[in-house]
């Protein structure tokens, strides 16, 4: 057998791997071979791309799948790394479990919700314990199997579909969906099921990203879709606007401007007049205040949080109370002061709501210069990525006997090789280990050429597929927390390996903590800590409490 044929077979296998790793669905009747550039260009969305080489490059991540009638593409709460384009057939989009899961979006869909609820309480709604829910759906049982009862799971829904609760929507040929969730790596808010036999073009994230950067049409399409569907939901989902009338929000939606900042750029400066209301789409914003000669961090903003409402609403505070700067790549929704004022005047009843909301926010977060401890903590949290992590492995060094049982346990559950290094920065009495944080917004996902690193279908787990990883170490370089380790398997890439440049080289793979998702139990490091000092924490409040508890003995 010639080398070329072998490579071809390998290519086909690798191509299949990419598609078979997509979930455990059995609904696919048929999946196409890898498509040639010509074949691709026959499809509407690829018409723009004239470059054969480009299409060849992305073609492993594109396939045409024929789905059976009544098959479920994905369910609410699951992660997908695909966008779908419908060639033939009809699909049904609906929300079944949204209410049961009490995901963050729930209050919006609740038609009976009228009373004002402070943001803090609303925020807690999003963190309901899954296990406490009575109705067990397929999705929930899947989760329950994998997570210890009582584990808090946060479902942040992306708004690919702006769909009222209980209603449904039919999608037909020519429609493009799933791309927002796939791109941002957030769970789907809806379930999609085929009504008839469907032929879908499936595009995986790596291809999607490249397509977006290459073609303005696609970018516009995506942005437009975001504005039309997601933005409205996101606005509605913003604590500040809880309870506001839909007409107001629609009006607001049309006025907004989408802005983005590079890391460490100043968005607003303390003392300067406030000119806009900002809503964070993604990334983190650091809020600092001047104190004596220096400045201290007082708070941070993450997705869904707003700034500027105090300055815009309260007459006495016309200037920014703090300096806001981006910690990383930040995308914001900007509403200018003028637009905001106009809207407020138009919708007077909204003003009261906003007032109350803003007031409680002041009480809640207390933009204060007094609490230096908290400030230091917030600063560290931003530096060390506490704000990002869904599950950070921290070790209480006051108790830890350095027995390394956590590492041993990890190694034993992962075929003899540990998946984290028990070293890292020491914060107070805690060691922040170099175990994957399972970030809310995982930057490691963005550069992966094969999509080997991805969200596991449920939960917040970020996993790396051994089959797909080609050892390019992009994710390892991107991870700010050194949590991804290039592990030398001791093997050599085979002759038919792809990409070809790998052949004959040492087979190094990106590896990291998968929260024992693959083995289906609570993280082994935590279970096997003999002194209970290995702790997984996912919320910044919890970390703060943990540390203050430890300090107070």
């Amino acid at each position: 057998m010639s080398n070329g044929t072998k490579t071809q077979i390998r290519r086909i296998e690798q191509f299949r791997d990419r598609w078979t790793t997509f979930g455990a669905n059995t609904g696919i009747k048929e999946i196409s071979e890898r498509l040639s550039p010509d074949e691709l260009r026959k499809i509407e969305i690829f018409e723009d791309y004239k470059d054969d080489e480009f299409l060849k490059k992305i073609s492993p991540d594109i396939s045409i799948a024929t789905w059976n009638k009544g098959a479920i593409l994905f369910e609410e709460g699951s992660y997908i790394d695909l966008a779908f384009f419908i060639l033939r057939g009809k699909l049904e989009v609906y929300i079944e479990k949204q209410r049961q899961l009490k995901a963050m979006a729930t209050p919006i869909f609740d038609p009976f919700r009228t009373a004002f609820k402070p943001p803090s309480a609303a925020k807690k709604d999003g963190d309901e314990k899954v296990a406490a829910e009575p109705a067990q759906t397929f999705f929930q049982t899947q989760i329950n199997k994998q997570l210890r009862p009582g584990t808090e799971v946060t479902f942040l829904a992306t708004m690919d579909f702006d769909l009222p609760f209980g209603s449904e929507k039919i999608l037909g040929p020519g429609e493009f969906f799933g791309e927002t969730g796939a791109q941002i790596g957030w769970p789907q808010p809806v379930t999609v099921k085929t009504v008839s036999e469907c032929v879908l073009v499936q595009i995986r994230v790596p291809a999607l990203r490249q397509m977006k950067s290459k073609s303005k049409t696609i970018k516009d399409r995506v942005d437009k879709q975001y504005r039309e569907t997601s933005l409205f939901s996101q606005l509605k989902n913003t604590p500040l606007f809880f309870g506001c009338d839909d007409t107001f929000l629609e009006a607001l939606r049309d006025k907004v401007e989408l802005v983005s900042f590079k890391p460490e750029k100043v968005i607003a400066t303390e003392g300067e007049p406030a000119s806009a209301l900002y809503l964070v789409r993604s990334g983190f914003v650091k809020l600092t205040q001047k104190l004596e000669d220096g400045e201290i961090v007082v708070s941070y903003l993450s997705k869904g949080m707003t700034m500027g409402e105090i300055e815009l609403l309260i007459e006495e505070e016309k200037n920014w109370l703090f300096t806001a700067s981006s910690v990383e790549d930040v995308e914001l929704v900007k509403i200018s002061k003028e637009d905001f004022d106009k809207l407020i005047q138009k919708y007077e009843e909204v003003e009261t709501l906003l007032w109350e909301s803003a007031f409680s926010k002041i009480q809640e977060s207390g933009y204060s210069k007094k609490n230096l401890n908290y400030s230091e903590f917030i600063n560290t949290a931003l530096l060390e990525g506490f704000v990002e992590g869904n599950s950070i492995l921290m070790i209480d060094l006051n108790v830890c006997t350095r027995c390394d049982d956590c590492v041993r346990a990890c190694a034993q559950t992962h075929g003899g090789i540990p998946r984290f290094v028990r070293e890292g920065e020491k914060y107070n009495n805690f060691l922040i280990t170099r175990a994957c944080y399972h970030c809310r917004d995982p930057v490691c996902l963005t550069g992966c050429p094969t999509g080997a690193i991805r969200r596991a279908r449920v939960g917040d787990v970020v996993e790396i597929s051994d089959k797909l990883c080609i050892g390019c170490s992009v994710c390892a370089t991107k991870c700010p927390y050194d949590a991804i380790t290039m592990y030398d398997t001791g093997e050599v890439w085979p002759d038919d390996a792809l990409p070809e440049s790998n052949r004959g080289n040492d087979r190094r793979l990106a590896t990291k903590c998968d929260l024992c998702y693959s083995t289906g139990h609570e993280p082994a490091c935590v279970i096997n800590c003999p002194h209970g000092c290995a702790i997984r924490v996912g919320k910044i409040e919890d970390i703060n409490e943990l540390i203050s508890q430890s300090q107070n003995g």
Partner: protein, 259 residues
């Protein structure tokens, strides 16, 4: 605590009724319970070595096992004494058992004390946290850094480095002083740096400062090295002998039931 008190109470109540010796019902009961406790405590060692399976089977958290290991082990010794009626053993095997039981339990208790005490001083007194296995290579790296710093600088500093710093950066050192003072008497040692600082140029002062921080960190690494070593070494006093104890108990059971 409750259990050990209960055991003692049982024993005292027992003394009122009848004599306790290894041969009678009471002695045998205590002996059996002690054996069960010991095997249970030993199972923790097994669990540590089969973490994959135990985790998968959901055999409980290691912490609970350790709790059992500690309390079970302590009560074990108490029961051993009760088993022998608080008298000295007779016969070589029984002496061996007696000594091993005491040794294993006491070394365990010693370990608990170490495990409670050392992490506290490591966490409170030191600014870095280091994996024990990495200490040699980090020391190596620090020495390389220091050599880099010292390459181009004035003679007094070079001299000072050669005399005072270089020897310290050689290898990880075990210094008993860390048991008493976790800083390893750093304040007095830094005095030398202060004095030298007066005579150096600004550029060299900066170099001295980075040397100083390397030196400080090295001392901390030594502290980690010394104390983490203690945390590891005590196990050698505990685990091998506890294995021997297991075998000796098996032999004891064989001797008792076979003969």
């Amino acid at each position: 605590m409750v259990a050990s008190n209960a055991c003692l109470a049982a024993y005292i109540a027992n003394l009122i009724f009848s004599e306790v010796n290894p041969g009678n019902v009471w002695g045998l009961t205590y002996g059996s319970i002690a054996t069960i406790l010991m095997v249970g405590a030993a199972l923790y060692g097994l669990r540590r070595r089969t973490m994959k399976i135990s985790t998968k089977l959901g055999l409980g958290r290691a912490q609970s096992w350790v709790q059992y290991h500690i309390y079970g082990g302590t009560i074990f010794l108490l029961l051993v004494f009760m088993h022998s009626g608080f008298s000295l053993p007779s016969g070589p095997l029984n002496w061996l058992l007696w000594i091993l039981s005491i040794w294993v339990t006491l070394s365990g208790i010693f370990g608990i004390i170490l495990q409670k005490w050392i992490p506290k001083i490591l966490a409170s007194g030191l600014s870095v946290e280091i994996v024990y296995e990495r200490i040699p290579e980090l020391v190596e790296e620090m020495r390389a850094n220091a050599e880099e710093v010292i390459k181009k600088c004035a003679e007094p500093l070079k001299d000072f480095y050669a005399r005072n710093i270089q020897p310290a950066l050689g290898t990880p050192k075990t210094r008993l002083i860390y048991y008493v003072d976790i800083t390893g008497g750093i304040q007095t040692q830094l005095k030398q740096f202060e004095y030298l600082e007066r005579v150096l140029s600004n550029e060299d002062k900066q170099k001295l400062q980075s040397l100083e921080s390397i030196y400080k960190t090295k001392l901390e690494l030594d502290a980690h090295y010394t104390l983490q070593k203690a945390l590891r070494v005590w196990l050698y006093a505990h685990v091998p002998l506890s294995l021997i104890l297991l075998v000796a108990v098996a032999l004891h059971l064989y001797a008792v039931y076979y003969y």
